[in-house]
């Protein structure tokens, strides 16, 4: 079962690689995505029967994250054939292999029970997405790729060092190979705190770079700005999710070692800093994708803040992973359609998108309202939950700062987005032949509908899964 | 049963008959005093009655610009003081209609009159009448708080927002709270003069339309509507005068002292107005608002003084 999770995408990647060039290569993606999603669901349903202590296991935390990533991937995969059909000049092989490779590696990260394997999985995820960044094959995308590669590699090196620090602490605590995560958590109390603290700082900076917490997020706007919306979705909804998961794995060790308060302060600080930074750079942002990139930075900040507040907020932060990923996919895919139809990313040229592209435009508007935390969409639940837990637990300053930043970000973001959507389309820029088609809009509507469902109804099994995952994060079995 | 109903009925009858019959006398007295001061014989005291009778016989001329609102002005300027007269205690201990909050109703009734008179003025499309209307609504903004600060003072003195107990308490309270009451009286006299367009704030007899306030608004009325306006103005003078007079007059409780005292007071007030009109010049328009601000300040200080007492 577990190996199927990892292998299915890799086999599909191989299939794509050996297929003849043509659009049918792209059609493998949705098939693989749906199968993978089904496998994840089946594995989650059976997860109670799996044995602890193995190298690979799908626990509630990893399962939840993988479910999110698999869903996002499937949405992108459904979008891919219609999108790639618009770009027949490109070779789909690399694209498909990289996408599927990412999914396989993400599955590896989610199921690995060993910090080393976890790290290897993350590194592989990073590398598999590099070709996607260079998809447009121009100077700008090359620059973005270079920055992504270097900043993230440095970050991954730091994360590796952090992992070694933790392992050294485990060694001092009397643990030898194999240092499964479960064993680390169980024996955390005996490890020396200086090493753990230093390790967590390194891991926070390292995986934080990958997540895109400010000020290590600098690769994000460039990378998101120069890639197609579909790649942006995978980066914003997939790679960051896995980085967050990796960070949480170590956070739970820290929490079990009694370092929870220390880590939480760091997380709250980083979270608020990310939101502030994102706010500053969203003001008068002239590029739609870069705006979304900063929104992604903001939401990574919200995740860090939520875990940093602790208690119920941890659960909401985990929920926010899904909420953010779903809505971000609406926004990224929608922005792809809008940018394509106006054939410009420069917002000065784009207006009246809701008239030009009714479906994409409306989805984008609703997505914008959703991402800033308006009910009835999923982000409302998590943002309200995090804010209320912060204030309710007496962290008045942090909580009010959080809400004030959200208000400021809303203002900055909306003043850029609404002029794009409203008004009359600029007659000079309506020359493209692009039109909304079913294949290009159905994934958006589907993602929005999912965000709506999650925002109004959280099924019992999901709630159980989330609360068990939150317990795991807090270092409790 | 009959005895309990008889007293209010008698009061109602006496008060309304006296008001409706005697009100046009007040301008007559004012003008007579002014004439005497100027060394003239002047028009007879009953001049307004003659004027009303003459106007009622004449036909009216309406501008083609006007609509139905044009006649609502004169109608309201009669109906409002008529209704208000029911609420104000005159010779009796109480008014024919008296209830908690009647003071507010009284103030707002005059607002009704102002509303329709101003609209009637605007209805003609005349520049002068528009100007008068603008001034009317502007000065009301200061007159209202002055009136209400006085009411607040009296309400605290009497314990409730009903005119009859308020004014009775005021009449009785000059010994205990002379300072506040004097300030309220100042405020109300100013309001009384402004609202009735008397010198030094407005000149009902001027011939220069540019300086007018109230008269400018009724320039286009003629015949019976003008009669209604003039009669309404005298009723208003009477009702507001009654407020001022009752503020100063202690209530004895015996009708044959109270009623003559009240009527005497009204006469005295009219004479006083005449004297003021004779010895003072009309203020410049800018001064009017300053005088009204003085009235507001005076009313406010009255209230504050009462708080400290």
């Amino acid at each position: 079962m577990i190996s199927a999770l990892i292998c299915t995408p890799l086999i599909a990647a191989a299939v794509v690689w050996f297929m003849k060039p043509g659009l049918h290569r792209a059609r493998v993606l949705p098939v693989a995505g749906v199968i993978h999603l089904a496998l994840v669901l089946a594995a989650l349903a059976r997860s109670a029967h799996l044995q602890p202590g193995a190298w690979f296991r799908l626990d509630p935390l990893g399962g939840w994250m993988l479910l999110v990533v698999s869903t996002i991937f499937t949405l992108c995969a459904l979008y891919a054939p219609a999108y790639l059909a618009l770009r027949m000049e490109r070779n789909f092989g690399v694209f498909g292999v990289a996408m599927l490779g990412f999914l396989g590696m993400a599955s590896l990260v989610a199921v690995s029970r060993h910090p080393g394997v976890l790290w290897v999985g993350m590194e592989a995820t990073a590398l598999s997405t590099t070709p996607l960044l260079y998809y447009n094959k121009n100077k700008r995308s090359l620059e973005a790729t270079w920055k992504y590669l270097l900043i993230c590699s440095v970050g991954m090196a730091l994360a590796l060092l952090g992992t070694f620090f933790v392992a050294y602490a485990a060694q001092q605590g009397g643990l030898g190979e194999p240092i499964y995560l479960d064993r680390l958590v169980a024996n955390a109390a005996a490890m020396p705190t200086p090493w753990l603290k230093a390790g967590f700082v390194l891991l926070l900076v390292g995986y934080g770079t990958k997540m895109g917490l400010a000020p290590m997020h600098t690769w994000k706007p460039d990378a998101y700005g120069e890639t197609p919306g579909i790649v942006g979705t995978i980066l914003a909804g997939g790679v960051t999710t896995m980085a967050f998961l990796s960070l949480l794995r170590f956070y739970s060790i820290m929490a079990a070692a009694g370092l929870g308060p220390f880590c939480r302060e760091l997380l709250v600080g980083m979270g608020l800093l990310s939101m502030t930074w994102a706010f500053v750079f969203m003001i008068r942002q002239g590029d739609l994708r870069r705006l979304l990139a900063y929104s992604s930075v903001e939401h990574m900040g919200i995740l860090a803040f939520g875990v940093g507040i602790g208690g119920k907020a941890t659960l909401f932060a985990l929920f926010h992973v899904a909420a953010n990923a779903l809505v971000k996919s609406v926004l990224f895919l929608g922005s792809g359609n809008i940018v394509r139809s106006f054939s410009s990313k420069n917002l000065a040229d784009v207006s009246g998108a809701m008239r030009r592209l009714p479906v994409s435009g409306w989805c984008f508007l609703l997505g914008f309202l959703a991402i800033v935390g308006s009910p009835p969409f999923a982000p409302f639940t998590s943002i309200f939950g995090i804010a209320s837990t912060a204030l309710g637990s007496g962290r008045l300053l942090a909580g009010s700062l959080f809400l004030a930043l959200l208000a400021a970000i809303f203002t900055a973001m909306g003043s850029v987005i609404l002029p794009v959507l409203q008004g009359n389309p600029n007659p000079a820029s309506v020359r493209t032949h692009y039109e909304d088609t079913f294949g290009l809009t159905a994934p958006l509507v589907l993602a929005l509908a999912l965000a709506l469902v999650l925002g109004t109804w959280l099924p019992g099994p999901l709630q159980t899964l989330l609360s068990r995952a939150a317990l795991l994060v807090e270092g409790q079995p | 049963m009959i005895r309990t109903l008889a007293r209010p009925a008698l009061l109602l009858l006496a008060q309304m008959v006296l008001t409706l019959v005697l009100a046009p006398l007040l301008p007559g007295i004012v003008n007579k005093v002014k004439a005497l001061f100027a060394g003239r014989v002047g028009p007879p005291v009953f001049q307004l009655y003659y004027d009303l009778a003459r106007l009622l016989r004449k036909g009216a001329v309406f501008s083609r610009t006007t609509t139905g609102v044009f006649l609502a002005g004169p109608a309201a300027s009669v109906a409002v003081p008529f209704t208000a007269a029911l609420l104000v205690p005159m010779g009796g201990a109480t008014a024919p209609v008296s209830f908690a909050g009647d003071a507010v109703v009284l103030a707002y009734l005059f607002g009704v009159a102002r509303f329709f008179v101003v609209l009637a003025a605007l209805d003609t499309g005349s520049a002068f009448e528009g100007m008068g209307a603008a001034r009317e609504v502007t000065f009301a903004v200061l007159a209202e708080p002055a009136l209400f600060m006085g009411l607040a003072t009296l309400a605290r003195l009497s314990g409730g927002p009903s005119l009859a107990p308020m004014l009775t308490a005021a009449g009785q309270g000059w010994r205990a709270a002379g300072g506040p009451l004097a300030l309220v009286l100042t405020a109300w006299v100013i309001v009384f003069l402004v609202e009735n367009c008397r010198i030094p704030f407005d000149d009902p007899n001027t011939h220069l339309e540019l300086t007018m306030i109230h008269e400018a608004m009724v320039l286009d009325h003629s015949g019976p509507p003008l009669a209604a306006v003039l009669y309404g103005a005298s009723l208003k003078l009477w009702v507001l005068g009654a407020l001022v007079v009752k503020l100063c007059l202690p209530h004895r409780g015996t009708w044959w002292i109270d009623w003559p005292a009240f009527l005497g007071g009204m006469t005295l007030l009219a004479c006083g107005v005449g004297v003021v009109e004779s010895i003072m010049a009309r203020l410049r328009m800018r001064r009017v608002s300053q005088a009204l601000i003085a009235a507001v300040v005076s009313g406010t200080f009255g209230f504050l003084l009462l708080l400290l007492a």
Partner: protein, 211 residues
């Protein structure tokens, strides 16, 4: 015998790296550092089982030979051109490296070592290499030098991992080797692209994407 002597040598190489202005020299120094790392690994073990030998060999081969050769090739392929001035001068960088060394020692004092490694310079050396790597990455304009910086940074991580190599060889081997090989390999490809696209490796020119 403690490995402190070798560690001190590695730290010295760091200073030389920071001070040197020529790319080829930097590559040589980095290769030398890689070789020394393999020696440290061997020194840490009393007897050398196969997997230790294999790891030492592969370290020396990859860090000391393969990657430097690759970088040299990239350097040779480049048209001769003036070395762009670094963002921060060489003297100042050297001072910063010295300050970083001091900090590394302070930091190391806070992190107690296990009984077996007491008194060794692993932690300060590792942190210092990390810092040197960062210095190269942040002050140099040439893409190739930045890769060297990354290499030195990796050496720092590797140095620390040697503390774990006895008990947790698996963790170390998977981590270090994969990271290095794959990372540098991909960077090499991208540098090639940059060379073709921009006709230069001056990363100062790679600043079109900004806010």
């Amino acid at each position: 015998m403690t490995p402190n002597l070798l560690l001190a040598a590695i730290m010295l190489i760091n200073f030389m790296l920071v001070a040197s202005s020529r790319v080829s020299k930097c590559i040589q120094l980095a290769a030398l550092q890689g070789g020394l790392l393999a020696l440290v690994l061997l020194l840490m073990h009393d007897h050398w089982p196969f997997h230790v030998l294999l790891m030492a060999f592969s370290t020396a081969a990859i860090k000391g030979v393969v990657i430097p050769a690759m970088l040299n090739r990239a350097q040779d392929r480049m048209k001769p051109q003036r070395e762009p001035e670094p963002y921060v001068g060489y003297t100042l960088t050297l001072v910063m490296a010295a300050a970083g060394t001091g900090l590394a020692f302070i930091l190391a004092r806070r992190l107690p070592l296990q009984a077996g490694n007491l008194g060794t310079l692993f932690v300060p050396a590792s942190i210092m290499a990390l810092f040197t790597g960062f210095l190269l990455l942040t002050t140099r304009k040439r893409a190739l030098l930045q890769v060297v910086g990354y290499l030195v940074l990796e050496n720092g991580v590797y140095l620390f991992s040697l503390l774990l190599v006895k008990q947790m060889p698996l963790l170390v081997e998977t981590g270090v080797l994969l990271d290095l090989v794959v990372g540098i390999f991909v960077m090499g490809i991208v540098i090639n692209h940059i060379q073709t696209a921009f006709d230069s490796q001056d990363t100062h020119r790679l600043a079109h994407l900004k806010d």
